[in-house]
């Protein structure tokens, strides 16, 4: 057993962080929040050149075959520097979904271009119901002529405006899990996009599919067989958002520490007041626990283990604890950080968005409660101990 990252992983994290912290000024990050696509294309290209966009794809597609833990370290660094990028839409969602479920032709077509930073892709899954259960999917994908027609409304579609294509989840039959995925070109007739104005750095969109037609070869995976792939995507997203939340927490703590060492009140640095010190110690405590939980989630998914329990634990914890860290950070800063030109606000906003993404804390606690009821062995993390039932 080894609950640490190795030297290569440490180097990757340090390099990614050093890059991310220099890539954009806080002013530029704020400016990007007001643009249509929300990210800086030059920075995305640089990330591709560093090999981070393609990292998780096999070498045959221009990647380096890295694991999900490596991607988590990259995402943690991006979160810590508040750098917006289409890494969730393009890599975590569409790219790995295509690797998971796509046909050889689809993989050949998209993955090398994704890895090179040339193609932005995304997925459209969540609907106005707002949940992540298969039963909520109302969008229909019906056979028509040689292909299909798609009808429905999707929300929270990441980077739709910049994407070359959108992989859309729809209902293709009556069973609860009778769901199918199709790739839709973004400029296809019958697709209407509207940008949502949201906290945090991601560009989220509404996508309305209005009698849009696609060819038969637009299907990703087996017709009716989409759900296991989508469930896997949701877990992946949750594990990586946990890592991003850790980056957000780390940045908030770092800002707080340097501020409390230099801000003088009552003739002393405020960091010498015990109340402030205990706030900082609490932030640090939750940060380190969250970090280990996030790494564990990414590592277990990356190793092809079920990872459902580990991911739910990580996202439930980080979704509560890291926004709390940003609140405490503001407590220690006082008024100065209430102003937009102080960088802490970036993290306050990003925490709002990240805790909500791929299931909030309640969603993941509910998932754990389901394991508790239905699969006690998994709930207990394959614990080696028999339950001490001798008492009862």
């Amino acid at each position: 057993m080894d609950i640490t990252i190795d030297d290569d992983q440490r180097l990757l994290r340090d390099t990614a962080l050093a890059f991310a912290q220099k890539a954009l000024t806080p002013a530029r990050i704020r400016e990007l929040e007001t643009t249509e696509h929300g990210f800086d294309a030059k920075v995305w290209r640089q990330m591709a050149e560093m090999g981070w966009v393609g990292a998780v794809f096999p070498e045959q597609y221009g990647g380096s075959g890295a694991g999900l833990l490596e991607l988590a370290l990259i995402v943690e660094a991006l979160g810590q520097a508040a750098v917006p990028s289409p890494i969730y839409s393009t890599v975590v969602e569409a790219g790995l979904l295509l690797l998971d479920a796509g046909s050889p032709a689809q993989r050949e077509n998209y993955l090398p271009r994704i890895a090179a930073g040339d193609a932005i892709m995304t997925t459209a899954i969540t609907e106005p119901g707002g949940g992540l259960a298969p039963g909520e999917i109302r969008t229909s994908i019906k056979p028509a002529g040689n292909g299909f027609t798609v009808n429905g409304t999707k929300l929270f579609v990441r980077d739709a405006g910049a994407a070359e294509g959108i992989i859309c989840l729809g209902r293709s039959g009556d069973g609860e899990n009778d769901l199918t995925l199709v790739i839709v070109p973004r400029d296809a007739p019958g697709l209407k996009l509207r940008r949502l104005q949201a906290a945090g750095g991601e560009a989220l969109w509404e996508a309305i599919f209005d009698n849009m037609t696609v060819d038969a070869d637009a299907i990703v995976g087996e017709p009716g067989g989409a759900w296991p792939h989508v469930a896997r995507l949701q877990l992946r997203g949750a594990a990586l958002k946990s890592a991003e939340l850790v980056g957000i927490g780390q940045a908030s703590l770092d800002l707080t520490l340097s501020y409390s060492k230099t801000r003088i009140q009552f003739e002393r640095p405020i960091g010498s007041f015990q109340g402030v010190q205990h706030h900082c110690a609490e932030m640090y405590r939750d940060l380190e626990v969250s970090r280990l939980l996030a790494w564990q989630a990414a590592a277990s998914l990356g190793e092809g283990l079920a990872g459902d329990r580990e991911t739910a634990i990580a996202k439930a914890k980080t979704s509560e604890a890291m926004p709390a860290v940003t609140r405490t950070a503001h407590q220690v800063h006082g008024a100065i950080a209430y102003y937009r030109d102080y960088p802490l606000e970036l993290y306050y906003h990003r925490a709002i968005a990240a805790q909500a993404a791929y299931g909030d804390a309640g969603h993941h606690r509910r998932a754990l409660a389901r394991l508790l009821r239905e699969d006690l062995g998994r709930f207990r993390g394959d614990s080696p101990h028999d339950l001490p039932v001798h008492y009862v």
Binding site: S272, A281, I313, S383, H385, L387
Partner: protein, 391 residues
């Protein structure tokens, strides 16, 4: 990152578990358990059991080979501590954890040669004499005096809150040797044979049921060879030893056991009331506790992994202990709530739930909050030593 135990580590875990199950049968529990003792085991049984741990090679397994140890990595030690805590086995205390480690790191060659072989066989019991009536968290203000007299030091003073002093062969005693220099500079550490003339032990009952002690030293003559480290350098020894103490206390098994015990209770079909587990609020509580327990487990093995890879974690040790003990306290509180009207029923009472252990631990673990790595002091340490905030 390797989330699973290696084949060899897993085999070791199984071996320890089988050892503990074989040794701690229900009959043994019945015969040697006494809630008036710390760890719920009688002193005689604790000592005998410690020798068995020694004979099985568990005590010294993580020590360097030069001190008769097994040279196994800290991950093995963490597994051992985990299993010992989970099975609530006796003897996992300073006598086999941090005192030997401190002697190895800070003791003289003669002390090592004399004491370590015996300690690896579990033959010695220790108490730690830091606290005094006027020196708690502010340990460096201690007053017990050691006065140089030829090749001896004469110790006079009082130690308080001395766990297990009644069964100790030796004391690990912090004293003041130079009252003229500043607080931290004039201290020296001694190993004191408890059979020496002038040592007396008095008893105090604790609210947890077990007996605690104070130890009085009245002109006790201790040979200079029993000083640990250099004269007046005792503070360094104390700080070094405290790191070992916190590491040894941070095992994952206690929290794991507390959680599993509550889970077992909630799964029981209670006459007329069904299973607690079927209540959604109870599920949410168990899930929240499981999340915290998993964090504590990872912190414990993270610490062991850092050691195994040759890092020297310091404030991380305090942090891991804080996480573990805060989680243990949450589980104590949750236990009271989940047991409902059965919570106050004491061990031995008709209808006691979980043999009354939740109520005992709710009282016993109270000391987690303020003793040896207490919550507020640990936050101070983490903020200043770990995060570099000004004092």
């Amino acid at each position: 990152m390797e989330l699973k135990l290696t084949v060899d580590e897993a085999a070791f875990r199984t071996e320890v578990r089988h050892f503990l199950k074989r040794e701690l049968t229900p009959e043994v529990w019945q015969a040697h358990r006494d809630l008036n003792e710390q760890g719920m085991w009688t002193p005689d049984f604790t000592k005998a059991f410690r020798r068995k741990l020694g004979a099985a090679g568990y005590i010294g397994m993580g020590w360097p080979k030069e001190y008769g140890g097994g040279g196994r990595s800290r991950v093995y030690q963490a597994i051992f501590w985990d299993e010992m805590e989970y099975h609530r086995a006796p003897g996992l205390d300073r006598s086999i954890t941090y005192v030997p480690n401190a002697i190895m790191a800070l003791g003289s060659e003669a002390q090592k040669a004399d004491l370590l072989p015996k300690m690896s066989l579990g033959e010695l019991s220790w108490f730690v004499g830091y606290s005094e009536p006027d020196a708690g968290s502010d340990l460096a203000s201690l007053k017990t005096r050691a006065v140089e007299d030829g090749d001896h030091f004469v110790i006079t003073g009082q130690k308080s809150f001395s766990s297990d002093a009644h069964m100790a062969d030796y004391g690990w005693i912090a004293t003041r040797t130079d009252p003229t220099s500043s607080k931290h500079r004039g201290l020296s550490m001694f190993i004191v044979d408890m059979t020496l003339p002038g040592v007396t032990v008095t008893k105090y009952p604790t609210l947890a049921g077990w007996t605690h002690h104070a130890v009085h030293f009245d002109q006790v003559r201790v040979p200079r060879s029993m000083m640990v480290g250099e004269l007046h350098q005792g503070w360094k020894v104390v700080m070094g030893a405290i790191d070992f103490e916190r590491a040894a206390l941070s095992g994952a098994g206690l929290v794991g056991y507390q959680f599993d015990r509550l889970l077992a209770w909630c799964m029981q079909d209670r006459e007329g009331a069904g299973r607690k587990l079927d209540d959604p609020l109870v599920q949410d509580e168990l899930v929240r506790l499981a999340i915290e327990a998993e964090g504590a487990r990872l912190m414990s093995y993270w610490l062991a992994s850092l050691h195994a890879k040759g890092f020297k974690p310091q404030h991380e040790t305090s942090l891991a202990l804080l996480v573990k003990r805060e989680t243990a306290r949450r589980l104590d509180v949750a236990g009271l709530e989940l047991l409902g009207p059965f919570a106050p029923l004491r061990t031995g009472s008709p209808w006691a739930a979980l043999e009354g252990e939740v109520e005992v631990e709710y009282r016993d673990h109270l000391y987690f909050q303020f003793a040896a790595g207490g919550f507020d002091i640990t936050r101070n340490v983490v903020a200043t030593r770990g995060l570099g905030l000004p004092r």
